[in-house]
Amino acid sequence: MKVLKIMLGILSFNLVAGIALAKEDHHHHQEKAATPAAESVKPLKDESIYNLKSELLTVDGKKISLESLKGQPVVISMAYTSCAYACPLIISHMQQLEKELDKKGVRNVHFVLVSFDPKKDTPPVIKKYVEKRKLSKNWDFYTAESDKSPREIATLLGIKYKKIDEMDYDHSFIITVLDSEGVIKGQQSGADKDPKELAKFIKN
C-alpha cells in the first residue's frame, strides 16, 4: 500500500509538472486534465480483466476497448435484446443494486451489459432497447463486431452461453462487480439472490 501511495505521489507530481509544461498549449492542457494520470500511466494489475484486448461497440457504433471502462467501479453482466425472461431479470437485479447504491450515496458506478448476440444486436437495435427499458445515464449496453469479444469477456466473468436457435440463448445468470482497475471483487449467480448484497463489494 505504501509503495502504491508513493507511486501515486510521483504520478501526481508528474501530472502537475506536465500541466505546467503544457500551459501554453490549451488543448493539450484540457486533454491532460480529462485523463487522471494514475489511469493512463499505472500498468494494469495481473488480475484485471482489462488485460483482455477486447473491442466493443457503443450504441452509436463507436469502437471502444474493454480497458476504457477503467477508472470507476463497474457492475457487469451479459444479455441480448430478444431475451424474454432471464435478461430483463438480470437488468432488474442490476437496477435494484443501482437503487441501493444510490440510497447509500454511491453514485460513481458504471452499469455495463455486453450482448451475446452481436449479429442481431446492432448498435441501433440496442439503442432502442436501452431507451425502452429506461436505463439510466450510468448504464452502457455494448455490442461487438463479432462473437469474439463477447466470448472472451464471458470466459473471464465465468458466464457460459449457447445459441439454441435463431432467437434464443441458454446462458448463465451472473452479475459481477469490478473495482476501478477491473479486478473482480464479487459475483452473484442465480435469479433467487438479493442483488442488494452486491453493494458490499463497492467502496464509496
Binding site: 484485471s48 466470448r151 473471464l156 458466464i159 452461453y161 449457447k162 441458454d170 451472473i174
Partner: protein, 254 residues
C-alpha cells in the same frame, strides 16, 4: 490501439513468416461443408457446418515454441495469471525450451484457452467451434480402425507420457490426424456447455447433458464418448491448463 497500423503490420509479418517457413508443416485441410448429427443427449437434429480449414494435426511443442519466441507475453515466466493457471507449460524446462523427452513433434499441452487463441490469431487463424470439431471428429478413419473402439479404448486408458508424436496414427477420411487417442483439444465455444445450474435454462440443459448422456450410453457407445467430451469441456475454465489438453487451429474458407 495507439498505433492503428500495428496489428496490420504484425499480421503481414506473421503471414510472411508463415509462408516462408513451410517446414512448420502444419498444413491445413479444407473441410467440405456438410452436416452432422449431434450426440443424442443434446440434440438429434442434424447441424449444418460450413466449409472451413482445419489444421491437419494438433499444434506441436516446436510450433508453439516459435510462437512464444515472437510473443514474450506468453513465456511461462511472464504470462498473466488471469490468462493461464500456475501449471501453464509446466513440463517445459524454460521459457524457450520444451522438455526434450516429450519431443518437438508431440502436441503442446498445458496451454490455456487464451494461449491457444493467441497462437491461432498470430497466424491469422482461430480455434474451431464445437460443431466444426465434432463434425470432423465423426468422420471415419482411412484404415479399418473403428472410431468408437479407438475412442473408448483411449478414454479407458490412463494418459500416456511423454505424449507420442503427431500423425503416428491413421488420418480420417478428410485427412485430419489425432482428433482422438492422443489429447483433448480446446474449442472456441468450450464454455457453451452448461453444468452449473444458474438459471432455469441451465437446469434444463443439465438434465439433457447428464440424464440423457447416461441413458443413451447403453444404446450407443459413440454417444457415450461424445458425452465425455461435452462434460469435459463444460468442466473447463479458460485459464485452465491440463496435461492432456492441447489444440489445433481452424480458419474460415474466405
Amino acid at each position: 490501439m495507439k498505433n492503428p497500423k500495428r496489428p496490420l503490420m504484425l499480421a503481414v509479418l506473421a503471414l510472411g513468416v508463415f509462408m516462408s517457413l513451410p517446414s512448420w508443416g502444419n498444413g491445413m485441410i479444407l473441410i467440405p461443408a456438410g452436416s452432422f448429427r449431434m450426440p443424442a443427449f443434446l440434440d438429434k437434429t442434424p447441424r449444418k457446418v460450413n466449409s472451413f480449414y482445419l489444421d491437419k494435426h494438433p499444434v506441436t511443442n516446436a510450433e508453439y515454441l516459435s510462437f512464444v519466441e515472437q510473443h514474450p507475453e506468453w513465456h511461462k515466466s511472464s504470462v498473466k495469471k488471469i490468462f493461464a493457471d500456475a501449471n501453464y507449460l509446466e513440463y517445459w524446462s524454460g521459457d524457450l525450451d520444451f522438455d526434450k523427452t516429450s519431443g518437438a513433434s508431440s502436441p503442446v499441452v498445458r496451454v490455456s484457452w487464451y494461449a491457444a487463441r493467441a497462437y491461432c490469431a498470430s497466424l491469422g487463424k482461430r480455434l474451431p467451434v464445437i460443431d466444426e470439431w465434432e463434425y470432423v471428429g465423426q468422420m471415419p478413419f482411412k484404415d479399418k480402425n473403428d472410431l468408437k473402439t479407438v475412442i473408448l479404448e483411449w478414454y479407458g486408458q490412463s494418459s500416456e507420457w511423454p505424449l507420442p508424436s503427431v500423425m503416428k496414427r491413421s488420418a480420417n477420411t478428410a485427412g485430419i490426424y489425432d482428433q482422438h487417442g492422443v489429447i483433448w483439444e480446446w474449442v472456441e465455444d468450450f464454455n457453451s456447455s452448461m453444468v452449473t445450474g444458474e438459471s432455469r435454462a441451465d437446469a434444463a440443459l443439465d438434465r439433457n447433458l447428464f440424464c440423457g448422456g447416461g441413458a443413451s450410453s447403453a444404446a450407443d457407445p459413440s454417444d457415450y464418448a461424445a458425452f465425455m467430451r461435452y462434460a469435459f469441456r463444460s468442466s473447463l475454465q479458460a485459464k485452465y491448463t491440463v496435461k492432456n489438453l492441447g489444440f489445433r487451429c481452424a480458419k474460415d474458407k474466405d
